[in-house]
């Protein structure tokens, strides 16, 4: 395995420049949609749900939405986005003709995916703050968690991309992995109503750990599992980052 160099920043900059040219079209999905969910489920459905764990439902929901939409941002960026750059726009070929190597491209892509998650998470956090849903000053740390959330899911997504034979393959990634996680990681309801066995299993979903942390920072009430959750995120992120370096090189360098 080869390491990436600081040159990766140029790939990140390239993606940033393109994003800020197109952000008006991209931002809609990642900010408007979570707002609609917050309003529809939080205030609409929330009236019938009442209090969850001592909080109003919308206050319970908001940190979960932040965690999951950050996940979506990073995952879309490093599946469809990366695949289009790699296979359709031949962007990787252009970059590899310069002093940058495959590992620099991979690191640039993953850190960019993490940055997208950071933007999305921070955006929703501001909106939640405007609705006066944030209860604790610890919430200021949430953007950092969103970045780590993004780092992990960008690495997982790019690993999947390195194996994807066609762009349609990503349907599997989203319907079998990302979407189930969205519903079963404690975003919409507390996991403690699951049977014990399912509760333990839900920790396999990396999103569960993220929701755990964002919810803690949001409310200021931390559980003993906070450090475990953090460790899980870091472990997933570094594992898939490393694997992606190997599998992507295998795919690109022939």
């Amino acid at each position: 395995m080869r390491m990436f160099s600081w040159h990766f920043i140029h790939v990140w900059q390239r993606n940033r420049d393109v994003f800020f040219r197109l952000w008006r079209t991209e931002a809609v999905g990642y900010v408007i949609e979570p707002i609609i969910i917050l309003l529809a489920l939080g205030t609409g459905l929330g009236i019938y749900i009442g209090i969850v764990g001592g909080q109003k439902y919308i206050e319970f929901l908001a940190p979960g939405i932040i965690a999951s939409y950050s996940m979506f941002s990073a995952s879309f960026e490093c599946t469809y986005g990366s695949f289009i750059r790699m296979e359709y726009q031949n962007t990787y070929d252009a970059i590899l003709a310069t002093p940058l190597n495959v590992e620099d491209v991979i690191a640039g892509e993953i850190f960019w995916g993490a940055t997208r998650a950071f933007f999305t998470g921070t955006g929703i956090l501001f909106i939640a703050a405007a609705f006066q849903l944030v209860q604790s000053p610890w919430a200021i740390l949430i953007p950092i968690v969103c970045f780590m959330d993004g780092l992990m899911f960008a690495a997982i997504a790019l690993f999947f991309t390195s194996l994807a034979p066609a762009i349609y393959t990503f349907n599997y990634f989203f319907t079998l992995f990302i979407n189930p996680m969205f519903f079963l990681s404690g975003v919409f309801f507390p996991l403690d109503q699951f049977p014990q066995i399912l509760q333990s299993l839900s920790w396999i979903f990396p999103l569960t750990s993220v929701v755990h942390i964002t919810r803690g920072l949001f409310s200021g009430e931390f559980s003993s599992e906070l450090w475990l959750a953090l460790a899980i995120i870091l472990a997933f992120a570094s594992l898939f980052f490393t694997i992606s370096l190997v599998t992507m090189r295998r795919r690109i360098v022939k």
């Binding site: 040159h7 040219r21 197109l22 726009q89 031949n90 310069t98 940058l100 022939k254």
Partner: protein, 300 residues
């Protein structure tokens, strides 16, 4: 000094041998052509020289540095012009150049200056604010070469730089490539266009099935493999056998190509011996050499 030295280079993809034991040297400031049919191994060879594909066996030195060990240093000195355009479609012409310059760590102001200069050289300065999709095929190709020059490379590597261009655009590209060469840029040109190869290249390697079959200047290749003139005899199914028999008896160097028999390496005096068949002379071209070496059958 050789700017590129390749020794016993081999590239295999599973069972397929794309490049087989190739050795060659490219001198500084020359225009070196790689000529060959599809699947000859040109692109594989170029991909190894530009450090994007590791060789299966053999060695490559570019500017005295061995690959793939010094790939970053080598790539910093090369200008690569790909066959398929790979611009960032969402960025303007200028932004594309600046983004590319950034990969080479060229600071912003200098990158802007060089980008303007490159756009001027290729008569694209009015397009600096255009979207990529607004450019014609010829403009895109010129922009690709302009982009390849942004790091002021000692060597430009071009893969089919005029494929699909109209004659005007093609000639403009040729003129610019000549101009760059006269300014001291070494060029490695991968092409299937014989006219282009004859016009631009100092030396040409003709490749076929992964091997270099011949390597010389265009004029020498013509002289060596077909002679300056080719005598052509039109034949019908009725007299074909007779003509072939007669040329064999005369011990001429000849070849049949569908309804024409071509005789090579003949002076006017010898050609008179077959005057009864009404042979017609014409100047030989690189294409004749190409056909003699790589055959007339479609290779797939």
């Amino acid at each position: 000094m050789a700017i590129i030295k390749v020794v016993n280079l081999t590239k295999k993809f599973k069972e397929l041998v794309a490049v087989s034991n190739v050795s060659l040297e490219i001198a500084e400031r020359e225009c070196f052509g790689l000529l060959g049919p599809n699947g000859a191994g040109k692109t594989s060879l170029i991909r190894m020289i530009t450090a994007v594909s590791p060789p299966t066996a053999g060695n490559i030195w570019v500017m005295g540095k061995d690959l793939p060990k010094y790939d970053r240093e080598v790539k910093a000195q090369l200008g690569v012009v790909p066959q398929i355009d790979n611009f960032d479609p969402d960025l303007t012409v200028m932004r594309n150049l600046l983004t590319y310059a950034r990969y080479f760590d060229i600071p912003g102001k200098e990158a802007y200056r060089r980008s303007l200069e490159a756009l001027k050289l290729f008569q694209l300065e009015e397009k600096h604010n255009s979207q990529i999709r607004e450019l014609s095929g010829g403009m895109k190709r010129r922009l690709l070469i302009a982009r390849g020059l942004i790091n002021q490379p000692r060597m430009l590597i071009l893969d089919e730089p005029t494929i699909g261009l109209d004659p005007q655009a093609k000639h403009l590209v040729w003129q610019k490539l000549k101009q760059l060469k006269s300014q001291g840029v070494t060029e490695l040109l991968c092409t299937q266009n014989m006219e282009e190869a004859t016009l631009l290249c100092d030396r040409i390697a003709i490749m076929h099935l992964g091997k270099v079959l011949a390597l010389d200047s265009p004029q020498q290749l013509i002289r060596r493999f077909v002679g300056d003139k080719i005598w052509e005899i039109e034949v019908t199914p009725n007299n074909k056998e007779k003509v072939l028999q007669e040329l064999a008896n005369l011990k001429f160097d000849f070849e049949e190509a569908s309804n024409v028999v071509q005789a090579f390496h003949l002076d006017d005096e010898s050609a008179k011996k077959m005057v009864s068949f009404n042979p017609r002379p014409r100047s030989a071209t690189l294409e004749d050499v190409f056909f003699r070496l790589t055959g007339r059958l479609l290779i797939e």
